[in-house]
């Protein structure tokens, strides 16, 4: 992630890996590194907002911390924006744009939700109107359900389906924007476990094929390593040799820790080797600690500033 001028980080990863939490942490890290940053959520989501302590997520940007804003898109807001920007429709059309039949149209046309929201994202970053706020870095919380790239493949699918017209053109703009590695970087979030790593590699591979290899992989919730040296073995043996239930319980715990730690090491190794196959370029792999209190992000933000933000994202 050494490109100073990269404008957008698309943060992706399966449910349950802590993606939204890390989006918030990335936003805070960017702000701490002196960037004007914004976290964006889609479809009225507010998981990042919640992590950042924002009671209500809104379409209008809100300041959440010094240098960091937040907003959440909805398809309806983005449609109104699209109509005004691209078609230069007067604001009086707004009541029609927000009418019930229009909302039904928006829901009934496959892929339109994704297209309009990604279109707004592109506008906000690449073509801001005079007077509109701008940011150095946008961090998008992109859910990776299904095939992982559902949202990002939306543009291509729409281009193929629509074939002509405003949707087709918008889809083309989005596709170019997302596949320009100078502008857009993908961040894959995973856990140091076998299945999540497997999924992260699948996702990275699909990204490399469709767009570009991920700029970074964040390995969330890395637990402390069990030493697994002569001293640690001596400790286990000393505990196992004693009959007291407490000593036995400790010995069992030491065994569990050793096993867990071994699996964690294996998973990291699988990830490292797998990423080498995905791309010849170096992928920043950042290991983040398992937080005791997930609302106190400071330790993670510190690491992200040092590893990703210094020298620019």
């Amino acid at each position: 992630m050494s490109r100073l001028h990269r404008k957008l980080l698309v943060v992706t990863g399966k449910g349950g890996v802590g993606r939204s939490t890390l989006c918030a942490a990335l936003g805070l890290a960017a702000a701490r590194a002196g960037k004007r940053a914004i976290c964006v959520e889609l479809s009225g989501q507010h998981a990042v907002a919640k992590t950042l302590g924002l009671p209500h997520a809104t379409y209008e940007p809100q300041r959440v911390a010094p240098g960091l804003d937040h907003r959440t898109f909805t398809a309806a807001d983005c449609l109104a924006d699209f109509a005004q920007r691209k078609l230069h429709l007067p604001a009086v059309s707004n009541w029609l744009i927000t009418s019930k039949p229009m909302a039904t149209f928006l829901d009934a046309v496959p892929g339109l939700h994704d297209l309009l929201q990604l279109g707004k994202l592109e506008n906000m970053i690449a073509e801001p109107l005079p007077g509109e706020p701008t940011w150095d870095l946008t961090i998008l919380d992109a859910h990776a359900t299904g095939h992982g790239l559902t949202l990002l493949a939306a543009a291509r699918a729409m281009r193929e389906t629509a074939r002509v017209g405003p949707f087709y053109e918008l889809a083309g703009i989005i596709e170019r924007f997302l596949s320009d590695p100078e502008v857009t970087g993908f961040v894959v979030v995973t856990l140091p476990e076998a299945l999540p790593v497997h999924e992260a590699l699948e996702l990275s591979n699909a990204l490399a094929v469709d767009h570009a290899a991920p700029a970074a992989v964040l390995v969330n919730r890395c637990a402390r390593e069990w030493p697994d040296d002569a001293a640690a073995d001596a400790l286990r043996d000393a505990l196992a040799a004693r009959p007291e239930p407490a000593a036995q319980a400790l010995a069992a715990l030491a065994d569990e820790e050793s096993t867990r730690s071994g699996h964690q090491r294996d998973a990291r190794e699988v990830l490292r080797l797998g990423l080498e196959k995905v791309t010849p370029l170096r992928v920043h792999t950042v290991e983040l600690p398992d937080l005791t209190d997930p609302t106190k992000l400071d330790p993670i933000v510190d690491i992200l500033v040092k590893t990703l933000m210094v020298g620019g994202v």
Binding site: S99, P101, M102, P110, A234, A249
Partner: protein
């Protein structure tokens, strides 16, 4: 009567694994069970050690069970094609719909279509007669509620009458003026060609609407029956209790029967209190490096403290969820999957009920 078990929950909580483990539990209880998973990451296929499976049940080999376990992975596109063929008035129309680009986009790109396909398949399995129990995983979503509400919403959307005004505005009166304004606006937003394609697509898909509606009613009867049990799967690491209570309220309002919650990745209490353990820390044997010993001790003390804190947290979560839902909570420990997926499912199954 076929028993249905619907596993709801947010993404990443272990829903798929729970569904598979429930299947194992039923097979152990002597039932003929089929598990439908919907997650396209093929996690069930992984967990069951089967090759990629799609839309067709595959027999899973289990050691020492008196029942049988079949598994299948929902294929959205194939299911949508099945739905079209079932409800289209003619084979010719079905072919045209299946080939239509907007129709092809329905199964993968229309919000809620995944849930619709899931309920269509669930109905097919439940009425097949080959199984005593059908366990279903639900599509990954932001809200556990999506599975309850999305299918009907999509059935309604796939009816051209709803959008009729956009394609053929009324010609007279105030309504005429308003709908003509709207129609021309939509034409400008979407473009003439796209609107013509969409008009054709919605015209064709509307031919399915009677069939879809009737099937919708049959599915609703099934999903509201006493034989249909809803289970909520939540992760102990992030139980998202607000969502849980929202889900329960919706189930209750809908008159569906809630059976209980599975709390995955729950930490079991330590058998010995941590303080008693720490009193038993051994002294450093001769010949062991002092710094290494201190490091190992601190790692062990930290692990014990973390374990105790998590166990206390998870026990409190389970108690709160049980109180909130007025139904049982089944904590499921994290299981070592390295020993083999089937072994792991068997261990999880031991913590799960058969309803």
């Amino acid at each position: 009567m076929t028993t249905l078990v619907v596993c709801c929950g947010l993404g990443g909580v272990g829903k798929t694994t729970t569904a598979a483990a429930l299947g194992v539990a039923y097979a152990r209880a002597g039932k003929r069970v089929v598990v439908m998973t919907i997650d396209p990451a093929r996690r069930l296929a992984d967990a069951l050690g089967t090759e990629a499976i799609g839309n067709l049940p595959v027999r899973v080999t289990l050691p020492d069970v008196s029942g049988t376990l079949d598994a299948l992975m929902l294929d959205r596109d194939a299911t949508w094609a099945e739905v079209i063929r079932r409800h289209a008035p003619s084979a010719e129309l079905a072919d045209r719909l299946i080939a239509n680009p907007w129709s092809r986009a329905v199964s993968s790109r229309l919000s809620g279509a995944h849930e619709l396909m899931a309920t269509e398949k669930l109905h097919a399995l439940a009425t097949d007669g080959r199984w005593d129990v059908v366990v279903v995983d639900t599509p990954p979503s932001f809200h556990a509620l999506d599975f309850l509400h999305a299918p009907d919403r999509v059935r309604r959307l796939l009816d051209r009458r709803l959008l009729g005004a956009l394609f053929e505005p009324a010609s007279k009166g105030l309504v005429g003026i308003a709908t003509r304004g709207l129609a021309s606006l939509v034409r400008r937003v979407a473009g003439e060609a796209v609107m013509d394609d969409l008009s054709e697509f919605f015209g064709m898909v509307s031919a399915l609407s009677t069939g879809l509606r009737e099937r919708g009613a049959a599915v609703a009867t099934l999903l509201h029956s006493r034989e249909c049990h809803y289970i909520l799967v939540a992760s102990a690491a992030a139980p998202r209790e607000e969502e849980v209570s929202e889900f329960l309220a919706a189930l209750r309002e809908d008159g569906r029967s809630f059976s209980g919650s599975v709390l995955t990745r729950a930490t079991a209490p330590l058998r010995v209190p941590v303080n008693a353990m720490l009193a038993e820390l051994p002294t450093r044997p001769k010949g062991v490096d002092a710094a290494g010993w201190a490091h190992a001790l601190s790692a062990l003390v930290e692990a014990a403290a973390t374990h105790e804190r998590r166990a206390a947290r998870d026990a409190a979560t389970a108690t709160r969820m049980a109180r909130m839902s007025g139904a049982p909570v089944w904590p499921v420990p994290e299981v070592d999957t390295e020993a083999g997926a089937i072994t792991a499912l068997g261990l999880i199954a031991a913590s799960l009920p058969t309803l």
